[in-house]
């Protein structure tokens, strides 16, 4: 556990103008892009630091989120704050659960540790990629509680 993580500033959307509902145009199609995916997950709380979001801990970066709308592919790399972070599986589980809830089922979601940022990168990646194990984890009541707690305040209506 990283008791003193480096806290980053929350970055506001740069390229995208924030529009009010009245300014939105119905006819214009807003393609789903990485930024949107990032928006969905940026506010997930860290399990170890309940008052900090993953973005603030730089666990999630917009650049690490890729997606291909046509192919229905979403790839998220997250970077644990420390290489031995014990909550990395839990963080991945949170991200994955959040994306599963927030994206249409046609998307293939990959949540992985940014290569080289964690000691047990492979095991963690394997666990996160295993549907059964994810499902089993989510069956776990205590685990689920933690996950929910992380996601609970992560919802943000723009």
């Amino acid at each position: 556990m990283n008791a003193n993580p480096v806290v980053f500033e929350r970055r506001e959307e740069e390229g995208r103008q924030k529009k009010s509902l009245e300014e939105e145009e119905e006819d214009v199609i807003d393609a789903q892009d990485a930024a949107e995916i990032f928006d969905l997950i940026r506010d997930i709380k860290d399990p170890e630091h309940e008052d900090l979001t993953l973005e603030q801990l730089n666990v999630l970066q917009e650049g690490n989120v890729t997606m291909d709308e046509e192919k229905g592919y979403v790839h998220v790399y997250f970077t644990p704050t420390v290489p031995h972070c014990s909550a990395s599986t839990l963080i991945g589980l949170c991200i994955r659960l959040k994306l599963m809830q927030s994206l249409p089922p046609r998307y293939k979601i990959d949540v992985k540790i940014t290569p080289g940022t964690h000691l047990q990168e492979q095991q963690v990646n394997k666990q996160l990629a295993d549907k059964e194990r994810v499902a089993a984890a989510l069956e776990n009541k205590s685990l689920l509680d933690v996950v929910h707690k992380c996601l609970m305040e992560g919802n943000r209506i723009s």
């Binding site: 509902l21 009245e22 939105e24 943000r156």
Partner: protein, 1588 residues
């Protein structure tokens, strides 16, 4: 003899033809000379025979010759007489000639001797006797002197009556009759008015003379002359009479009556006698009654036998006077009556060349007068009349009799003359005459008589003084009449019935009172006939009935006239009361389909005629109009013959005119105008050419004129509005008819005829130039205001329109238009129109401007446009439009115009004029109202521009500043008050159901939502319960704006609610609406047209969990999650983000009410498997048990468990729980034992052993040595039967139930264990097989896994006094025992007195909670049930173990369990509906397994106290424990403090159930249960927010 006969003939000839006047003077006898010659001849030949014949030759001579008697003739006569008698005769003749005719004897010239002699002779004749005369006539010197004196006196005209009497004294007293007679004659000749003497003038002389004559009346031979003298004298009397004179005259007249045998006298003398009486009674009024004489009797004698018509007439005229004066005695009345009634009926035929002039009618009238002159004569007259009628002698006799009756009634009244009995007789007699008489005249006279009598009787009714009697008379007659009429109507003989019914007509036409008597009944009877008639014979009957109705109506016309003449009798016509029904009767003929052709035509004709008659008396105007419509419609169709039709129409028109002019009948105008229109448009009439047309037009003009007159007349009176409208309508129909004719629209065509057209145009011109301007000029707004303006003005407007169309460009149209403009639109001043002008214009243009009006050519359209423009130009929009006139006119124009004109008008009015003003504060109000009116006008015609304006109003609503204008718009659009203006009556173009199309629910929701949108949320929140459902409805509106507004409102509501606001009650409303709300929001979330809608819907959706309880929201989780799957693919990012937000389970909130609290987790109670704790077990079943929440209900002790999903797993859970409880109970019982037996430190499991023993010998009943035989079951027994809390549902009152017996439960439990084993729920098969639920106890206890200490249940925890309460924990509670005993005592069969086998069967009270109302187990469907019951099926053989009963130990074989187990204490009946349904289904599908299923289901179903089948035959198996509530106030306090704390809750519940301190086993069970709950909530299941 021949000679005598000839003379007699001659004399009779004279007597019959000659009056007292001389023949030659006046009588134009054809041959006077011849008669004189004949007389001379006869006299010469038969001179002496005159005496024989009692013919007075002097009289004859006088008559024959008169003044022509010349001296020569006398001489001839005298010469021819040789005898003395002849000589005297000659003298007499001479003297007579002198006396009578003033022939002066001296004037004989040279024949002086004769003159002197003749006078002397006459004097001698008068005064001397015959002998003296014969002998001394010439010789007696004295006498000559006397004569000479006399002659001198005569010459001097000084001969007085006194002297004559003196001279004739001897003769007057002579015994010789003839002499006396002659003496009298002299006095008479010289008396009153002799030419020879001076007439008697002084009263003294007269009275003396009258007295003398009166005395002489008894001298019969002289009576003739006496009468003559008397008559002369009395006739000469005049002026007031002196007493002497009066006395003398009275004496004389009485003498005449008394002494003179009148009938033996000659005709002239009789006449004199009667004349004397007449004089006395009439002119002189002599007091005859003062004399001691019975005048009546004398008169009877006098008159009796009189045959001369002159005398009779005189007598008849005298009789009333006599009767009036002297008829006082009833006894004499008959004689008196007989003397003249014998002449009845009088027949008299005057001779040809009658000079007297007496006719039969005079005599008859006089006789009737006599017969009815006195009331004492009435009975005789009545009898006479009736007898004469009955005798049926001759026509004249009957007629006279009828006249007599009528006269009697007239003179003395019906009651006075006829009386009650008389009425009856008269009625029967009259009816006989009416019905049976063959003579028409008699019938008619009888009817007339009846009518007369009835009228008089009815008038007597009206007379208050005679009301009692008169009414009785009338009633008598009418009653009989009605009865007779009823009979008549049933009589098949038509003629007879018609004759009989004519009496009804008499009654109808007589008087309103009598009419009222019969009209109702007879008309209804006739109506019945008409309505019932059918078939072959029906026509005649129906026709006759219709004719009778017609006659009745005709009769009523005369009644109407009668009433008109009498203001007192006037008033409501009696027919008016039945007019409506009669009309219906008459009209029913037209729908009668039994007859066709000629018959139908005849019937209809009669009916129509009757309707014509009926119209004037019909009461209501509507009825009249209806009748009129009937007439108009049917008349043309009916009248086949042209002549007949013309006649009919003419008659109708004339009668209508008469009605209108005379009676001012309101219906007359419409009737007349309608018929005029009929005339004009009747093609048949038009076939008659221009002449008829002109006459029709003449009628029209006359109508118009008459209407105008009436109008002007009516204007002078009050209340003219209705009449005016009527007149307008009449005129309108006329002008419309003319217009139609002109255009050739009417059926007859005729439009091509130039002459017809000219005529039409001329009529139109008349209207245009005279009538309409007059009407228009006459109008004033005061009248119009009183009634519906447009409705009143409509006829006039229609008239104007028709007139304009008729006359076209010329003929007055210009005048009319200019009149309208001049009158009403000239002052287009800056001030604009006046209100009154506007109203006129409004009406004209709202109604007159027709959409497809042909005359609305370009110029007139321009006129309309300019008018509208001027209306708007002159209008100050900063002011209110008075009376909405401008608006309505403009709306009317906009509604009706079309094409380019409309476009230009719209451009001008809306876009150029109104729209710039609608937003200016100053003008906005008026301008928006204008706009709304126009919008409504356009919307109701379905014009698309209307929607444009409506959109403007809708736009207002979204802006708070202008919302009020939007409100104006919706107010006008929705106002129903304005619909009367926007109607087809005003020729508005209104599409059918335009309102329904326009004002849909969506429209109103839209308006509402927009209105609410501008309202502060706090204000709206007050109305939340009403508003929220509407908002939810509004979400389904297709309009985007509505959705947005509704969503925003909802959002604000939800936002409001999500804040803590205890006072708000909208939350509960939201909760109630959740299903519709969530569905609507989900629908909106996929609303593709607007992303705002989607976003707002999602926003709302995301907030819904915040306002509602978790358990309310929870069921929608799946639905929401699924529906939001689409949202995640939305093409707008903002939507997707919101969708994702909504979809996350975290947003669904958390359970708001957690029923149990974790206190002591981790107590491993049971070892169900190798490593399984109860937590593991519960973990597996947790998803079956979704939520258990408890609430305190309103009654304070309700246990409410919600959402228990009953399933196999839940049952497992339940069973496990029970076992747990049981274990604890057992453990605690050990304490109980210890408390009772202080030496024992641990729990005593004897009861378990006992139980086990019992299980082993389950087929054996408890031995008789059972210690609890006479007592209620022990705690052990009770405990054994604990099967647990199950199906704890909504309960308002709790009951105690018995469970099944041990062995049965054991069987079931063994099957259950098998099932669990098969599911690998239980590992140790050996241990659990064939065990009851409590079989777990030994194992678990043996393993020492459970201890009492572990349970940590101590009395301290419940604040109970240890010492006092401990012993009761698991022993039989004394309280319960008491209660149980009380129950036993109350049971239908006393337990103690019950047979043994019943007592043995007593299972003991078992404790089981169940609610009355809760369903025992939800119906799971077949699959679930199969799953549920499958394990039991497998072990069906063991079910036989459940056979139970005292006889089980005997040789009787086990009884298999069936649907009903009568052998045991219970009947297992599937009483609940769901169970029944399940059973039926299962019976059908799984019949062979029914036995098992029954058992299984029986185990599932709980037994309700209320289920009658749940008791056995003896009723022993049922007990009821009364529930004692605690004190309410204290209870409530405790309850409130106990919310959320389960222990206390359980405490309360146990208290409420058992009404005692928490010392009962039930309480402990509860506490154990909650302990268990702690275990449950200690699991991860409850720890997180794991509700996904």
């Amino acid at each position: 003899m021949l000679m005598i006969l000839a003379l007699q003939v001659f004399a009779l000839l004279l007597a019959s033809n000659v009056s007292h006047q001389p023949l030659g003077a006046t009588a134009p006898w054809s041959d006077t000379a011849h008669i004189r010659r004949l007389f001379d001849q006869s006299y010469n030949q038969y001179d002496h025979q005159y005496d024989v014949l009692s013919i007075d030759p002097l009289d004859v001579i006088n008559r024959v010759y008169g003044t022509d008697l010349t001296h020569a003739q006398l001489q001839i006569v005298s010469k021819s007489k040789k005898s003395t008698a002849s000589y005297w005769d000659t003298l007499k003749m001479c003297s007579f000639a002198e006396m009578s005719h003033g022939v002066d004897g001296i004037a004989f010239g040279g024949q002086g001797f004769l003159g002197i002699n003749s006078f002397a002779a006459s004097m001698q004749f008068a005064c001397g006797d015959g002998n003296t005369l014969a002998h001394g006539g010439v010789e007696g010197t004295d006498r000559r002197i006397l004569f000479a004196d006399c002659r001198a006196e005569v010459r001097r005209k000084s001969l007085t009556i006194l002297r004559v009497v003196e001279q004739a004294q001897s003769a007057l007293t002579n015994e010789n009759n003839e002499v006396r007679n002659r003496g009298i004659m002299v006095t008479v000749a010289c008396g009153p008015n002799l030419t020879l003497t001076r007439p008697v003038s002084d009263p003294q002389s007269k009275s003396s003379l009258i007295q003398f004559y009166g005395d002489r009346l008894q001298d019969e031979p002289c009576v003739k002359e006496v009468l003559r003298g008397l008559k002369l004298l009395i006739e000469s009397l005049d002026g007031p009479l002196s007493d002497d004179l009066r006395r003398a005259a009275t004496h004389a007249v009485v003498g005449v009556l008394k002494y003179v045998h009148v009938q033996s006298l000659a005709l002239s003398d009789r006449h004199k006698a009667f004349g004397l009486v007449e004089e006395a009674l009439g002119r002189l009024e002599l007091p005859l009654s003062e004399q001691d004489v019975d005048v009546l009797e004398c008169w009877v004698q006098c008159m009796n036998g009189e045959r001369d018509p002159r005398n009779l007439l005189l007598c008849f005229r005298l009789i009333p006077r006599i009767a009036a004066k002297f008829l006082t005695n009833k006894d004499k009345a008959e004689d008196f009556f007989n003397v003249f009634s014998c002449y009845f009926p009088i027949t008299f035929t005057p001779p040809p060349d009658d000079k007297v002039g007496i006719s039969a009618d005079m005599l008859r009238e006089a006789l009737l007068e006599c017969m009815t002159c006195h009331f004492l004569l009435i009975p005789f007259s009545l009898d006479l009349a009736l007898s004469k009628l009955a005798e049926a002698e001759s026509t004249g006799c009957r007629l006279d009799s009828l006249d007599l009756l009528a006269t009697l009634a007239t003179k003395h009244g019906v009651q006075g003359s006829l009386g009650h009995d008389g009425c009856q007789q008269v009625w029967s007699s009259l009816r006989l005459q009416i019905v049976d008489s063959s003579e028409q005249e008699v019938q008619e006279r009888a009817r007339s008589c009846l009518r007369h009598i009835l009228r008089i009787a009815a008038e007597e009714v009206g007379d208050e003084r005679q009301e009692a009697t008169g009414s009785s008379c009338l009633h008598t007659i009418m009653k009989t009449l009605k009865m007779q009429t009823t009979v008549d109507l049933k009589t098949p003989q038509e003629l007879r019935s018609r004759k009989g019914l004519s009496t009804v007509l008499c009654a109808v036409s007589a008087h309103p009172v009598s009419a009222k008597f019969v009209l109702h009944d007879s008309l209804y009877a006739l109506r019945d006939i008409v309505l019932a008639s059918g078939g072959e014979s029906g026509f005649a009957r129906m026709y006759a009935a219709l004719q009778v109705i017609h006659e009745i109506l005709l009769s009523s016309r005369s009644l109407w006239m009668y009433m008109k003449g009498r203001p007192a009798a006037g008033g409501k016509h009696p027919l008016s009361e039945v007019s409506k029904d009669t009309f219906d009767t008459l009209t029913s003929v037209f729908v009668h389909d039994s007859f066709a052709g000629e018959e139908s035509s005849k019937l209809k004709q009669t009916s129509l005629q009757s309707i014509c008659e009926l119209i004037p008396v019909m009461g209501g105007e509507d009825d009249v109009r209806r009748a009129f419509d009937m007439l108009v419609g049917e008349f043309v169709a009916l009248c086949r013959s042209q002549d007949e039709r013309l006649v009919s129409i003419k008659r109708l028109v004339s009668s209508c005119l008469a009605m209108m002019e005379e009676e001012d009948h309101p219906a007359a105008i419409s009737t007349l105008s309608g018929f005029t229109a009929l005339c004009l448009n009747d093609d048949a009439l038009w076939g008659h050419g221009l002449e008829v047309l002109r006459s029709s037009f003449a009628v029209s003009v006359r109508v118009a004129r008459a209407a105008l007159d009436i109008l002007l007349e009516a204007r002078r009176r009050e209340g003219v509005a209705g009449r005016q409208k009527l007149i307008f309508q009449g005129l309108l129909s006329v002008i419309d008819a003319v217009r139609l004719r002109h255009n050739g629209v009417s059926p007859g065509g005729g439009g091509d005829d130039v002459a017809v057209k000219e005529e039409c145009v001329s009529i139109g011109s008349l209207f245009a130039t005279k009538i309409v301007p007059e009407l228009v000029a006459d109008l004033s707004c005061d009248q119009l205001q009183s009634s519906s303006f447009a409705g009143c003005f409509e006829p006039l407007a229609g008239m104007i329109r028709a007139t304009l169309e008729l006359v076209g460009e010329g003929g007055g149209s210009k005048e009319l238009v200019s009149l309208l403009l001049d009158k009403y639109s000239t002052p287009i001043a800056p001030s604009g129109f006046s209100c009154e002008q506007l109203k006129i214009i409004q009406s004209v243009f709202m109604s007159a401007v027709h959409a497809d009006l042909r005359f609305l050519d370009e110029s007139k359209r321009g006129f309309v446009r300019n008018l509208a423009a001027s209306l708007l130009d002159g209008f100050d929009f900063s002011q209110e439009d008075p009376g909405d006139c401008r608006k309505s006119i403009v709306a009317s124009v906009m509604n009706k115009l079309d094409g380019e004109v409309f476009e230009s008008m719209y451009q001008f009015i809306v876009e150029q004029t109104l729209l710039p003003k609608v937003k200016e504060e100053k003008f906005a109000w008026s301008a928006n109202q204008f706009l709304a009116w126009i919008a409504k006008a356009l919307v109701c015609r379905g014009h698309p521009k209307g929607q444009v304006i409506v959109e403007i109003f809708r736009g207002y609503l979204t802006e708070s500043n202008e919302a009020k204008y939007g409100v104006i718009g919706y107010q006008v659009l929705g106002s129903r008050d304005l619909d009367k203006d926007f109607s087809k009556q005003n020729h508005f173009i209104c599409k059918p159901l335009w309102r329904q199309r326009f004002f849909s629910q969506e429209f109103f929701l839209m308006a509402l939502v927009h209105l609410l949108h501008g309202t502060p949320v706090e204000a709206v929140a007050l109305e939340a319960p009403r508003v929220i459902p509407l908002l939810v409805q509004a979400l389904n509106c297709p309009a985007k704006e509505t959705k947005v507004a509704a969503l925003e409102l909802l959002f604000s509501f939800i936002d409001q609610d999500s804040k803590p606001n205890p006072g708000s009650d909208s939350t509960s409303f939201m909760e109630g609406q959740l299903s519709t709300l969530i569905q609507a929001l989900l629908d909106c979330s996929s609303f593709s047209e607007s992303l705002i809608v989607r976003c707002r819907a999602l926003d709302c959706l995301s907030r819904v969990p915040k306002i509602a309880s978790y358990h309310k929201v929870y069921p929608f989780r799946t639905q929401v999650t699924r529906a939001l799957g689409k949202v995640l693919s939305d093409h707008k990012r903002c939507v997707r983000l919101r969708g994702a937000n909504c979809r996350s389970p975290q947003s669904h909130g958390r359970p708001s009410l957690v029923s149990v609290v974790v206190t002591e987790p981790g107590v491993e109670m049971l070892r169900l498997g190798k490593d399984r704790s109860i937590s593991d077990y519960l973990e597996r079943v947790k998803d079956r048990r979704e939520l258990i929440s408890r609430k305190f209900g309103s009654d304070g002790h309700e246990v409410k468990v919600e959402q228990i999903r009953s399933s196999m797993r839940y049952r497992e859970f339940e069973m496990t729980k029970l076992r747990y409880q049981h274990n604890v109970a057992s453990a605690l019982r050990k304490d109980d034992k210890e408390s009772r037996q202080p030496s024992s430190g641990r729990a005593d499991f004897s009861s378990l052993r006992y139980h086990r023993e019992r299980r082993i010998s389950s087929h054996h009943p408890p031995s008789s040595s059972s210690p609890s035989r006479d007592l209620p079951p022990s705690t052990d027994q009770i405990r054994d039967r604990v099967v647990g809390l199950r199906n704890v549902g909504h309960s308002s009152s709790l009951s105690l139930y018995f469970s099944a017996r041990d062995s049965e439960w054991k069987g079931r439990n063994s099957r259950f264990m098998q099932y669990m084993e098969s599911k690998h729920m239980l590992s140790d098969r050996g241990v659990h097989r064939n065990t009851s639920p409590d079989m777990f106890l030994p194992d678990s206890l043996r393993d020492d896994l459970v201890s009492v200490r572990d349970l940590s249940i101590f009395p301290d925890e419940f604040q109970i006094n240890k010492a006092s309460q401990a012993e009761d924990y698991f022993t039989t509670s004394s309280r319960l025992s008491e209660e149980a005993r009380s129950v036993f005592n109350k049971s239908p069969t006393d337990f103690d007195r019950s047979p043994r086998h019943v007592r043995d069967r007593w299972p003991g009270p078992l404790l089981r909670f169940r609610s009355k109302s809760a369903e025992p187990a939800p119906f799971l469907g077949q699959a679930a049930r199969q799953e549920l019951y499958e394990p039991f099926r497998k072990t069906s053989q063991t079910s036989h173990d459940a056979t139970y009963g005292p006889r089980a130990e005997s040789l009787a074989p086990p009884i298999p369990i069936k649907g009903r187990r009568h052998a045991g204490s219970y009947k297992y009946i599937l009483t609940h509906s769901q169970s029944s349904a399940a059973r039926m289904k299962l019976t059908h599908e799984q019949g062979p397994r029914l036995n098992d299923l029954n058992l299984a289901m029986a185990s599932e179903c709980s037994y309700s106290m209320e289920d009658a089948d749940a008791t056995d035959a003896s009723g022993v198996g049922k007990i009821k424990v009364a529930i004692v509530k605690k004190d309410e106030g204290e209870e409530n306090q405790q309850l409130q403090s106990a919310v959320g704390r389960d222990e206390e809750m359980a405490l309360e519940r146990s208290q409420s159930v058992l009404g005692g301190p928490p010392s009962s086993p039930q309480f402990l069970l509860d506490s154990l249960w909650h302990r268990l709950c702690r275990e449950i909530v200690g699991s991860p299941f409850f720890t997180g927010s794991g509700w996904n």
